[in-house]
Each structure stands twice: as structure tokens, then as C-alpha cells.
């Protein structure tokens, strides 16, 4: 019907120069639908792009050093801080009552509204607050004096103030105060010493402790196998005592080294004074970075900016995750996603192969297929509960009592860990892979299979040599989708192994190098933790955006590399087609 009316519409112009009159309803041509479809697409694009821009803008600007403003209030008090945000509000009558007549009149003239700014004042150890609101009417003057330092410390958050004095190796060196380059050099020396202390404490003493723990577990294992007081146990105890003495001696030596360095470190200090004059003396090595906030050129600002990013992606978190970096979380997310792919890809593909190629298509297969599709719709937290109950408690508990009885009652696999998290997410994403693989297999032309079979290949040979390679790009697409979903999932992970603070990466230098039982940190959970669990939610907000940016970046990078691999495969098989 539609085609005939269009034909007549097309024939019409031949009738003369009359204005074109549409006889077909717009509905029939589909024009309004076209607009609706296009509009929907545009709306979707705007939403996605807007979201990305929001995250990008907030994430990218967070680390840019801001100026420090000194505000003198009308009552003579002074405060120094980074302006954080401002808002307009309506002061209540009880606030207005405390103000003088002129201010009241000014506020009334502005429609009863007044502005106020939130300043990040830092110096939490001095003020016991680190943010403060200042109303515009209470401000006598603002200034951005030079010489004000923004000092990021290992503890207590930032300090905003001036340098009063510097002591290097026990000698007061007041000249360093005005010589940023020499101060930076002294700071580098102190930081290098701090890193050395950390290396001794973490790596070298860590080795000793690790060995000691291994020996202790060994004795316990012997005791469990042969019984307490048996000759084997006595021999093991003797061996342990011997090893322990040697290791304790190592430990004492290393601890003395570290202690010596710490003492030296304590002689290099910096004295800072906040705007009100209160002084604070800290070790120079406890300063992460400092800069004169109002005297920076663009290049120096860029330097601070990059150095902050560098710390963020390569360091460990400090101060209950509110400062420092997120390296363990990046690593945890990455390793978990890789594990997830390693598990989900073969499982999904094998299942789909059987369903599509071998199973007799009937009621049973339909039921299985419907079940698989339904699995994709189950809320992810349900998988978390299953993962905790089945993987961690049942499977992990079993593994523990079979293989790690010497560590009980401390669970090894019997609690959340990166392996269980990856398996849980694999379960969650396997429907995606199955469905995509089935589609890809179905899309391989029947003629190719028949050709192969006609040449005398067996069914398995046909699948392996002909079907699978051609289906590979489609399968890869499924795996990529599964990976993207898995990397961004947080809810089930909270039950099966993600923790706020996991000091150890799942991969390290101790045998067996890859510790699948360990809990781990995850960028998604880190976002939740920093934004909604940290003491100071105000300071946490910008970090939420930075971490989100990083998570999106990580997922993007993994997806891109998977797409590149898929395209390689495609090209490889494109050449060998008939």
C-alpha cells in the first residue's frame, strides 16, 4: 500500500509546476519516526558525552594547584585557605540580628540574599577542622600574598602557612627559607632517606618476617601431621629455634639500621606557621610536596599538577584512603578483570559451542537457553551472596581444611579473595559471552560447514578449522562486553573480597608469586569509600571524580586493546576466505 502511494507522489511533479502536495500521510513515510529515532540517538549521545565531560572536567582539574587566599574578616580574624566553592543563601533572622545596621540594609537590598565561600584551610591538627564557610558580609578584605606555602604532609592533611625555619642535620639553616631551590634539594635528600627507611622496613624486614612466618607454619604443619611431641615435631621445633635465632639477628640488624636512619631523619625538620601564628615543627621527610601557592608560574603549576598525578597512580593510599595514590586499587581492578576473562572466555565459548553445534535442539536446550538469558537479568548483588556462600565458605572452607590446616582458624581461601571475586563476576558475565558466541556461530554460513564436511573433515575438525575462526570476532565482542561489565561491577565484590585497605598486592615476590586468596582493593569500591565513607566527605568529593576518571580510563584501555586484538584476528581470517 505504501509503495503505491509513494509512486503516485513521485509521479505528481510531472503534472506541472503546481506546488507539491503530499498525498501520503507523514506517518506512512515514517518521517516523524525518523525524527524520533534521531532525537533519541542525539539525546543518548548528549547524556553520555555530558557525563564524560563532567567526569573529565572535574577529574582533570582537581590536581591543578589553586591560589591560597588570605581573608580578613570584619572582626579582625584572618584565615588562609584555598577557595573551594561558593553559594548564595538567605541569612535567617537570628543571623541578621547579630549584624550591624549597614550590613543588614545591604543584605535587604540584595533581596535578603548573601553569598558565602567555602575555604579549605587545612591545618587540621591546629584548627580541628579543615573547611570553613565565610559569609561575604563578614569579609573585610582578601589578599593573595606571596610566600604562603601549601604543604602536603604524610599525616594530618595539608598545612597552609609560612615557613618559619629549617633545620638540616641538626643545624639551623634560616637561609633555606628564602631559597626554594636549596630547600627543594634538602627536601629531596630527606625524601630519599624516607624512601630508604621504607625500603628497609617493608622489603628487607618484610623478607625476614615472611621467612619467619613460613618456618612457624612449617612447625605447625609437622605438629598436625605427626602429632605434638613426636620425634618429627621435636626435630622441627629445634630447626625452627635455630632459624628463628638467625632471623631475629637479621631483624635486629635491619631494625637498628632503620632506627639509625630515623634518628638522622629527625634532625632535619621544618617549622611552619599558620596564618594566626601557631607553629608546627615536622620532619622534612614527612612533607610530600610543598609550593608557594601564590607565586607559581604556569610551568611550575604544571609541574605540581603532574607530580600529583604521578603520586596518585603510582603510590599507596594514606590517611584512611583520603590521600596518597590508588596503585593497589588500579592493580586489583586490572588483575581481577584479567582473571575474569581467563575464566569466562573458555567457559562461555565451550557452553555456546555445545548448545549450538552438538546439542539436539529441543525443549531442554530451549529451557537452558532461556535460563542463560534470565541469568543476565539477575541483580548482581545476588551473585555476590552466592559467591560468598558457595565459593568462599563452602569451596574455600574445604580447600582450607584440606590444604592449609596449619593456618586455621585464620582462613586462607575460606574468606573473600581475588579468585572468588573473579569467579563470581565470571558467573555474572558468562551469559553475555554465551549469547554472543551463539550468535557468532549461527552467522557462519552453512555452505562453509558443508564444504568442509564434504571434503571429509569430521565435525570437530570443521568446528575447529572453519567455524571457530570465522566466529572469533563475534566471540571476542562478547568477551569485551563481559570484561567491560565485570570491570565496572562493584556490588557483588563488596561481599567477596574487596576491602578498604589491602596492604598487599595479589602479585608479589614471594612464592607462589600469585596470591589468589588475598583480598584486594578495587577502583569502583574506592570511589564508594572515598565519597561516602571517608571522614571528610568534602575533601573526598574531588577524589571521587579523579578515581572515576581513572576507572573509566582503565576500562577504556582494556576494551581498546581487546578491540585491537579482535581486529587483528578479523584481518587474519579475512585473507583466507573463499
Amino acid at each position: 500500500m505504501t509503495s503505491t502511494s509513494i509512486d503516485t507522489a513521485r509521479a505528481r511533479p510531472a503534472a506541472g509546476t503546481l506546488a507539491r502536495v503530499r498525498t501520503t500521510r507523514l506517518q506512512a513515510i515514517g518521517e516523524p519516526n525518523l525524527w524520533a529515532l534521531g532525537g533519541a540517538l542525539a539525546f543518548g549521545c548528549v547524556m553520555v558525552v555530558g557525563f564524560l565531560l563532567l567526569v573529565l572536567w572535574n577529574g582533570v582539574t582537581t590536581f591543578w594547584p589553586r591560589p591560597v587566599v588570605v581573608v580578613t574578616t570584619t572582626d579582625g580574624a584572618r584565615l588562609a585557605g584555598e577557595p573551594f566553592r561558593s553559594e548564595v543563601y538567605r541569612p535567617g533572622p537570628e543571623v541578621l540580628a547579630t549584624l550591624d545596621e549597614a550590613t543588614r540594609r545591604r543584605i535587604a537590598a540584595a533581596g535578603g540574599l548573601a553569598g558565602r565561600d567555602l575555604y579549605r584551610t587545612g591545618n587540621f591538627d591546629v584548627y580541628s577542622e579543615d573547611f570553613r564557610w565565610v559569609s561575604d558580609y563578614a569579609v573585610a578584605s582578601t589578599a593573595m600574598p606571596s610566600g604562603l606555602m601549601f604543604v602536603e604532609r604524610l599525616e594530618w592533611g595539608p598545612f597552609i602557612g609560612t615557613i618559619r625555619g629549617v633545620t638540616v642535620d641538626g643545624r639551623a639553616m634560616p637561609e633555606l627559607k628564602d631559597d626554594p631551590r636549596a630547600l627543594a634539594a634538602a627536601h629531596d635528600v630527606a625524601r630519599a632517606r624516607w624512601r630508604q627507611i621504607r625500603h628497609i622496613e617493608r622489603d628487607l624486614i618484610g623478607d625476614v618476617n615472611h621467612e619467619l612466618e613460613a618456618e612457624r607454619l612449617n612447625v605447625r604443619r609437622v605438629a598436625l601431621r605427626y602429632g605434638d611431641g613426636t620425634p618429627e615435631h621435636v626435630a622441627a621445633l629445634a630447626r625452627f629455634a635455630e632459624r628463628e635465632t638467625a632471623l631475629q639477628a637479621d631483624y635486629a640488624r635491619l631494625a637498628a639500621d632503620a632506627q639509625g636512619l630515623k634518628e638522622t631523619d629527625g634532625h632535619t625538620q621544618i617549622t611552619l606557621a599558620e596564618i594566626g601564628g601557631a607553629e608546627k615543627t615536622i620532619n622534612l621527610s614527612a612533607v610530600v610536596r610543598m609550593y608557594p601557592a601564590n607565586d607559581l608560574g604556569v610551568a611550575q603549576k604544571l609541574g605540581v599538577y603532574l607530580s600529583r598525578w604521578g603520586e596518585f597512580v603510582s603510590d599507596e593510599p594514606r590517611e584512611a584512603n583520603t590521600e596518597g595514590g590508588v596503585l593497589p586499587a588500579i592493580f586489583g581492578t586490572f588483575v581481577m578483570t584479567l582473571l575474569l576473562v581467563v575464566v569466562v572466555a573458555p567457559f562461555g565459548v565451550v557452553t555456546a559451542l555445545y548448545l549450538r553445534e552438538y546439542a539436539r535442539q529441543g525443549r531442554l536446550v530451549s529451557i537452558v537457553r532461556i535460563s542463560v538469558n534470565n541469568l543476565a537479568g539477575v541483580p548482581s548483588i545476588v551473585y555476590g551472596v552466592f559467591g560468598l556462600g558457595f565459593f568462599a565458605y563452602v569451596l574455600g572452607g574445604g580447600i582450607d581444611s584440606l590444604f592449609f590446616p596449619e593456618r586455621l582458624p585464620n582462613p586462607t581461601f575460606g574468606t573473600g579473595g581475588i579468585l572468588w571475586a573473579a569467579l563470581t563476576l565470571a558467573l555474572l558475565t558468562v551469559p553475555v559471552v554465551i549469547v554472543a558466541t551463539e550468535e557468532a556461530l549461527a552467522a557462519v554460513p552453512r555452505s562453509m560447514r558443508e564444504g568442509s564436511l564434504a571434503c571429509g573433515a569430521s565435525k570437530w575438525q570443521t568446528i575447529r578449522r572453519i567455524v571457530l575462526p570465522r566466529a572469533m570476532p563475534g566471540i571476542m565482542t562478547g568477551v569485551i562486553l563481559a570484561m567491560a561489565r565485570g570491570a565496572g561491577e562493584v556490588a557483588p565484590l563488596m561481599l567477596v573480597g574487596v576491602v578498604k585497605l589491602a596492604p598487599d598486592l595479589p602479585l608479589d615476590g614471594y612464592f607462589p608469586y600469585f596470591h589468589l586468596e588475598r583480598s584486594f582493593m578495587h577502583l569502583g569500591f574506592h570511589i564508594f569509600d572515598v565519597g561516602f565513607q571517608s571522614r571528610n566527605s568534602e575533601a573526598g568529593k574531588p577524589m571521587v571524580f579523579v578515581t572515576t576518571l581513572l576507572l573509566i580510563g582503565l576500562v577504556f584501555a582494556m576494551n581498546i586493546s581487546a578491540v585491537v586484538i579482535r581486529n587483528r584476528l578479523k584481518r587474519k581470517f579475512a585473507g583466507s576466505q573463499f
Binding site: P93, R132, E201, E213
Partner: protein
């Protein structure tokens, strides 16, 4: 619960006079001294209120003992007892004392009671928006605001800000309520003390974390919510509270908490599985000692809570045979 409060006040008063300001430590607290041969792994599961504090302690402790592995999970106080019973955690931080049933479950498995150490003092704060002019609230008023049963003796339900004495634009505005979820110890403590064991109103928006309560109040001008004082930000204000209507209100400061004037002052506990017949393993024993050291209590201040005194430390350390 009143009894608990008096105990807290008495114990704190026993110390060398209550500390002068919020930010000072009891000078009697000792510096932490490292010992050798401490290693192992510690897992802590429990309170969300104590989550950051445990993390700060863990960070400080692993600076002393680089090879003690500490993992921290904080989803609510009610998750601590099951984890201790199952042995999945060695420490169970809780923002309320364990209930009888929880202690029984533990005792049934191990044959002895779990030990509690009191790591910090918290003034459970009732937060309002920073522009809110309210000056003082009594516990019966709080009860009338948050509870539908009003066991505190208030005769009338308080649904609007006018019901608790505000005028002008506030008078007609309903109070928007924020609270914690039921797994939280803060929820339990608030219910017991401020609601006199009554029931919460259905309109209380239950939040998964203490910080979310504060963020909720910060973004809602007519809101009221409760959470640990450590989560206070510049956008909210803790309302001074009194026990009975008409009494002078005490602010949520350390002085008022120590003196017992602030009605919602409480200890924050860490529960540990200590077999009374065996010495505690070095990692856990040292962690407890660290909590009670000058460094440990400094971390308490850093997290916004109030430090305990040496007197409390002595009492708990003796009970654990660590002194």
C-alpha cells in the same frame, strides 16, 4: 543505658583531670615502643563508624611492623560478632556494646566471653544543616522527632521544625530525617538511648554509611540526622543536647563527653577473641597496646573522635593481661 553513661563519666574523671581541650592527649599516655618478632595477619570486620579509625590505626601499626598484614572491612557493627564467631576476623570494631545474644553465640563456640577494648570516645552527634538556628534539643524532643512510639515521655509528635520551637520560615517545614541502617551500631545505640528503645519512624531515610548521613543533611536544609562526631563537615552543625527538657544543653565536645554532660557520649569498642588461658599472640597484643599508646590516640583525634585516658587504657590492658 544511663548506667553506662555514668560509668564512662566516672572512668574518665578518674584520669588526671579531664583534658583541657579537644585536641590534647592525656599526658600519661605512653609512647609506643616497638618490639621484635611481630608478624602475622590481622583482619578486622565490623563498624562503619570505626572504619576510618581502624584504617588509621592499621596504617600506623604497619609502619611499626611492616610485615603485619591488616585488612579492614566496615559494613556495620552487627557484622562483627558473626565474623568473630566464625573466626574470619580477629578484631571486631563495634560502636555499641555487644548484645547478650551475640555474647552467648560467641561463648557457645569458644567457652569464654569476647573481650572488649575501649579505643575511643565518641559523641554521637545530631546534625542539622549549617543554617539551622536551633540551639538546643533534649532527648525527649529527639525521641519525638525520630520515634513513632515516643517512649521518652513527649506527649506530642514532632513532625515540623515549629514543633521543636523554630519560628519563621522553619515553623511549617517538616523535619527531614536521616539515619543509619539497622546493621549499624550507631542505629542500635541511638535507638536505645535517644529513642528509649522505641521504634524509628518509617520516614527516617536509612543510609548505608555515617558519611552519607552527613552528606544528606548537608544537602537538605530542613534535615536532621545522627552519626559519629568524627564525620562532621563544614556544611553541618552538631546540635547541643540535654538529657531532660529544660536542662542546659551540652555541646558535642570532648569536655562535655568526658564530664558526662553530653547525653549521647559513648565508647567505641574493639572486640577481640582472647582465650583467658593462653597468652594473646604478639600481633594482636601489640595492636591493642598500639591503640592505647600516644600514637594510637593521636589517630583518634585525627579521625575526629575523642581520645581515651591512660586510666582506661590501664584497666583494659590489665584485663587482657597485657601489663
Amino acid at each position: 543505658m544511663l548506667r553506662n553513661r555514668t560509668v564512662l563519666a566516672a572512668a574518665l574523671a578518674m584520669a588526671v583531670g579531664a583534658p583541657a581541650a579537644a585536641q590534647t592527649l592525656d599526658p600519661a599516655l605512653k609512647d609506643y615502643k616497638q618490639i621484635s618478632g611481630v608478624s602475622g595477619s590481622i583482619k578486622s570486620i565490623g563498624s562503619d563508624t570505626l572504619n576510618n579509625l581502624m584504617t588509621l590505626w592499621a596504617e600506623g601499626f604497619s609502619r611499626m611492623y611492616p610485615n603485619v598484614k591488616i585488612e579492614i572491612e566496615g559494613k556495620g557493627s552487627s557484622t562483627a560478632p558473626p565474623a568473630l564467631v566464625a573466626g574470619t576476623a580477629q578484631f571486631g570494631p563495634m560502636s555499641r556494646p555487644m548484645k547478650g545474644a551475640e555474647i552467648d553465640a560467641f561463648e557457645k563456640k569458644y567457652g569464654y566471653k569476647p573481650s572488649a577494648i575501649r579505643g575511643a570516645v565518641d559523641a554521637l552527634a545530631v546534625f542539622v544543616h549549617k543554617d539551622n538556628p536551633i540551639r538546643c534539643l533534649s532527648l525527649p524532643q529527639i525521641d519525638a522527632i525520630f520515634s513513632k512510639t515516643r517512649k521518652g515521655g513527649a506527649t506530642k509528635d514532632a513532625a515540623t521544625w515549629g514543633d521543636v520551637g523554630l519560628t519563621g520560615e522553619w515553623a511549617a517545614k517538616p523535619i527531614s530525617l536521616y539515619g543509619r541502617n539497622s546493621a549499624s551500631g550507631t542505629y542500635g545505640y541511638f535507638k536505645e538511648v535517644a529513642l528509649f528503645n522505641g521504634d524509628y519512624k518509617d520516614s527516617v531515610k536509612e543510609q548505608p554509611g555515617s558519611s552519607t548521613v552527613v552528606q544528606g543533611v548537608a544537602s537538605d536544609k530542613f534535615a536532621m540526622g545522627y552519626s559519629g562526631i568524627g564525620y562532621a563537615t563544614a556544611d553541618v552543625r552538631a546540635v547541643p543536647l540535654s538529657t531532660k527538657t529544660g536542662e542546659p544543653c551540652a555541646p558535642a565536645t570532648s569536655e562535655a563527653a568526658y564530664a558526662g554532660d553530653y547525653p549521647l557520649a559513648r565508647y567505641l569498642y574493639i572486640y577481640v577473641n582472647v582465650n583467658p588461658n593462653q597468652p594473646l599472640d604478639p600481633a594482636r597484643a601489640e595492636f591493642i597496646r598500639y591503640v592505647y599508646s600516644k600514637q594510637g590516640q593521636q589517630a583518634v583525634i585525627k579521625d575526629g573522635y575523642f581520645p581515651v585516658t591512660q586510666a582506661i587504657a590501664d584497666e583494659d590492658l590489665k584485663a587482657k593481661k597485657l601489663m
